[in-house]
């Protein structure tokens, strides 16, 4: 432990000297030092306000460019932003650091102790093992020093004694330190309010030349280094800087300003609008469908193939392989695939053939088991249901593919159905399926994989068709109603796109801007 502290000191010293050396180099730079620049003019009209549409902990600064930015002497390279920090922040930082360091030390002790004990035992048995010693032994800073077994044993004994003695002490120190930290955090608002006493300006960063705004986004966790407290008076200042950082404009100060979180995100109104529109469409058409309106849907060959394929499997006496893809159960494409699986499994149960569902994710497997089970129940054949037909393979892309390829060649399913999210493995699966002589029906929303399915499968549901498949297979009016809603939403989208495009072209960009989502 002592040598670790020493090391830290040396590192800090090194860092400081390097930093100092670097600053020196800039100052004596002979090329740029030739003509001394006059300081640029400061920014004007500096304003600070809470950043909109966020969770708080952020302030946005806006200003008008310095007269020397892009015009005048054109000497501005960037704008440097400062915030006023009360010294209390240092107290908080220090406490935070010691909490985390103490915790790290306790954690490290837990790993080091058995290793040190092991090394010690080994060394005592056979001093020759010094060369293969895995444990870092503290050594004096002396280049002539030669590590001997005796020294190593003594150092290890020291280390072990140190850990044994200080481990519990450190462990017990964490809680009091944490309480101190909480207390220090509670005092922060007051410390900020004491501006300009007991604090100083610190640089936050630079905004590139030509920019007129800067957002100081802090962390919301009080344990984070960049924490900015909400509802606390903050002060900012901006300076224009030149190539030579020591030549800079006079500072412009702004404040006090407080950050706070918003309860509504105004930039996302267009999304809300579309969601509500869709919601209304869905409810309307579902109601219409319930009342018995005749809803036409155009035939999809991929869907019609499903029935034939199940019939074919029954004739051949071979199973049906259903893959849900690589998505987890939170992904909508997987959820859509569950619905299709339900329909397919019901037909499978009715035809009394069998289905195999190898899964990539345990949760997906659990849901798929429920789905298949209830489909068998619906078909009135719950006795035929075998839970083992829906099983987990592995959660590693190409291992899954290898295993499924093996299943395809050994079980020789009559039909392979791929629905859901597929990545690079799409072609591997589909080609192996063709080799095994299976009829293949695929549906995915992964654009990059659609070409491969189109090429290798007999029927492919492209993109949105995957999401319509369940409604098509179920033929329930309620679900067909929601297809109608999708179509009307498409009409709205096309109309909006056309109006927006023409509007932008004819010099009326307001419409396009209205629908722009920000944030």
């Amino acid at each position: 432990m002592r040598h670790k502290l020493k090391l830290v000191l040396v590192l800090v010293l090194c860092a400081w000297t390097t930093a100092a050396a670097q600053t020196d180099t800039v100052l004596i730079d002979p090329v740029s030092a030739a003509p001394v620049l006059p300081p640029p003019l400061p920014v004007t009209n500096l304003q600070a306000q809470d950043t909109d549409n966020d969770h708080g902990h952020a302030i946005t600064l806006t200003w008008e460019k310095s007269a020397d930015d892009g015009a005048g002497r054109n000497s501005v390279l960037a704008y440097e932003i400062f915030r006023w920090f009360p010294f209390q922040m240092d107290v908080v930082d220090a406490l935070r650091k010691s909490v985390s360091e103490t915790r790290d030390a306790v954690r490290a002790f837990r790993i080091d102790l058995p290793r040190a004990e092991h090394a010690l035992r080994e060394l005592r048995e056979d001093p020759g093992k010094l060369r293969t010693l895995r444990f870092n032994v503290a050594r004096p800073d002396d280049s002539t020093f030669q590590l001997t077994a005796d020294y190593a044993i003594r150092a290890l004994e020291d280390t072990i004694a140190f850990i044994r003695e200080h481990g519990p002490i450190l462990k017990n120190r964490i809680k009091p330190l944490q309480q101190d930290l909480e207390k220090a955090l509670a005092e922060l608002p007051q410390a900020y309010a004491d501006y300009p006493r007991d604090g100083e300006w610190r640089s936050l960063g630079k905004a590139l030349v030509g920019s007129t705004s800067y957002t100081n986004t802090g962390a919301k966790e009080s344990t984070d280094k960049d924490f900015i407290p909400d509802y606390t008076d903050l002060y900012y200042r901006v300076e224009a800087i030149t190539v030579d950082e020591s030549i800079r404009s006079e500072a412009v100060t702004v404040g006090p300003v407080q950050s706070r979180g918003q309860w509504f995100h105004a930039g996302r109104v267009p999304v809300l609008g579309f969601v509500l529109m869709f919601f209304v469409f869905t409810l309307t058409f579902v109601q219409m469908a319930k009342k018995g309106a005749n809803l036409y849907v155009r035939p999809l060959s991929g869907i019609e193939a499903v029935d034939d394929a199940i019939g074919r499997a029954t004739e051949m006496g071979r199973p049906i392989l259903y893959l849900l893809g690589l998505g987890d159960a939170t992904q909508v494409s997987t959820i859509a695939s569950f619905s299709v699986l339900g329909r397919v499994a019901k037909r499978v149960a009715e035809y009394q053939t069998s289905i195999i569902v190898p899964c990539y994710d345990p949760v997906v497997m659990a849901v798929a088991q429920e789905v298949v089970k209830s489909s068998y129940l619906d078909a009135g054949r719950s006795d035929d249901y075998k839970q083992e037909s829906v099983f987990f393979v592995t959660n590693y892309q190409f291992a899954y593919v290898a295993a499924v390829n093996g299943i395809m060649l050994r079980e020789r399913p009559a039909t392979n159905i791929y629905m859901g999210k597929f990545m690079a493995e799409s072609l591997l699966l589909a080609e192996t399926g063709t080799l095994a002589g299976s009829i293949q029906i695929a549906g995915t929303d992964e654009i990059a994989q659609i070409p491969f399915f189109i090429v290798a499968c007999d029927y492919t549901l492209i993109g949105e068709e995957l999401y319509a498949a369940s409604a098509y297979l179920g033929r329930e009016p309620v679900l067909l109603g929601s297809l109608k809603a999708q179509d009307w939403a498409k009409v709205v989208i096309m109309a909006v796109a056309l109006i927006g495009m023409l509007g932008t072209a004819l010099g009326w960009p307001a419409f396009a801007q209205l629908l722009q989502v920000t944030g």
Binding site: Q22, T25, V26, I28, D29, V31, S32, L208, V243, E431
Partner: protein, 295 residues
């Protein structure tokens, strides 16, 4: 069963076997693939080739080991060309995991400069490449946009010291180099979106000649900049690298891989054409059969 029907029902394993044999043979063989150099690559080569001795070529290597396979050959060819022509090279690595790899690449090229070579009919003697005289490697600094802007003012702003910790003014080569106005051109070889900044912040603001080398996947998206003359050349992926190696008469990994790539592509195209010939031949027969059946 005539030949076309056989062609239609060819077991895919013949395709696999043929492809595998061709690929392995192409990998093992030592034949030269004719590489047709596109004008956007030739522009880079000729620009560098016609530079006078002692000019400074700036090569920012903004990629990490992930895209090494495609981009390393470009760097090797360009830097060696510059050194053979007795030019100076300035290198940065604005990708976080890149500097170590870039350093290794520089050492490799320095080693290969120790033997005399003949490129495009011109013999070049062996040369000892000296750090600070023939090249300077500035290393990595975060925030590429700021670094690129800062270098436009003075290289010493973002890089007071080079990668090896030497102050820039102690390097003989850097004494006369202040900012972009002192370099002949910049060839940005990049696997990240730093290319966007080189184009808009670097070239856009300071107007030096810029060419880029990017990964195959992102090649298509940078072609518009060629049309608007913001860049004077572009090398895309393995193909672009191979083209440059061809121009520089300095075959390396990219040209090696191109042999296999090309053979594989040819095999695939040949099979597609064969499949279509078989398809049309049998279709005519099928149609005839149907017609006869109808009669």
């Amino acid at each position: 069963m005539n030949i076309f029907e056989r062609l239609m029902q060819l077991d895919r394993r013949w395709v696999f076997l043929f492809l595998a044999i061709v690929c392995v043979a192409a990998y093992a063989a030592d034949f030269e693939v004719p590489i047709v150099v596109e004008p956007e690559v030739r522009a880079i080569f000729q620009f560098i080739d016609t530079l006078p001795k002692g000019s400074v070529v700036f090569v920012p290597m903004d990629y990490d080991p992930g895209s090494m396979a495609e981009l390393h050959p470009m760097t090797y060819a360009i830097v060696e060309q510059c050194w053979r022509k007795e030019m100076k090279v300035l290198i940065t690595a604005l990708s976080q995991n890149g500097p170590g790899m870039a350093d290794q690449a520089i050492r490799d090229i320095v080693d290969s400069m120790k033997v005399p070579k003949t490129y495009n009919g011109v013999s070049y003697p062996a040369r000892e490449i000296v750090n600070g005289v023939d090249y300077a490697f500035l290393g990595y600094k975060p925030f590429p946009a700021i670094v690129i802007l800062g270098m436009g003012q003075n290289f010493r702003l973002p890089f007071p010291l080079d990668y090896y910790g030497t102050p820039l003014d102690s390097l003989p080569m850097m004494r006369n180099i202040r900012n972009y106005s002192d370099i002949a051109c910049a060839i940005n070889i990049s696997g990240t979106n730093a290319t966007d900044w080189w184009i808009s912040y670097g070239q856009g603001r300071f107007g030096f000649p810029l060419a880029i080398g990017v990964t195959g996947v992102s090649t298509a998206q940078y072609y518009p900049y060629l049309g608007s003359r913001q860049i004077f050349g572009i090398m895309g992926g393995m193909l672009g690298a191979a083209e440059y190696e061809e121009l520089a008469d300095n075959p390396g990994n990219a040209k090696d891989a191109m042999r296999v790539q090309l053979s594989a592509h040819l095999v695939i195209i040949a099979f597609v054409i064969m499949g279509n010939i078989g398809f049309f031949a049998t279709r005519r027969k099928r149609k005839r059969g149907q017609a006869e059946g109808g009669r």
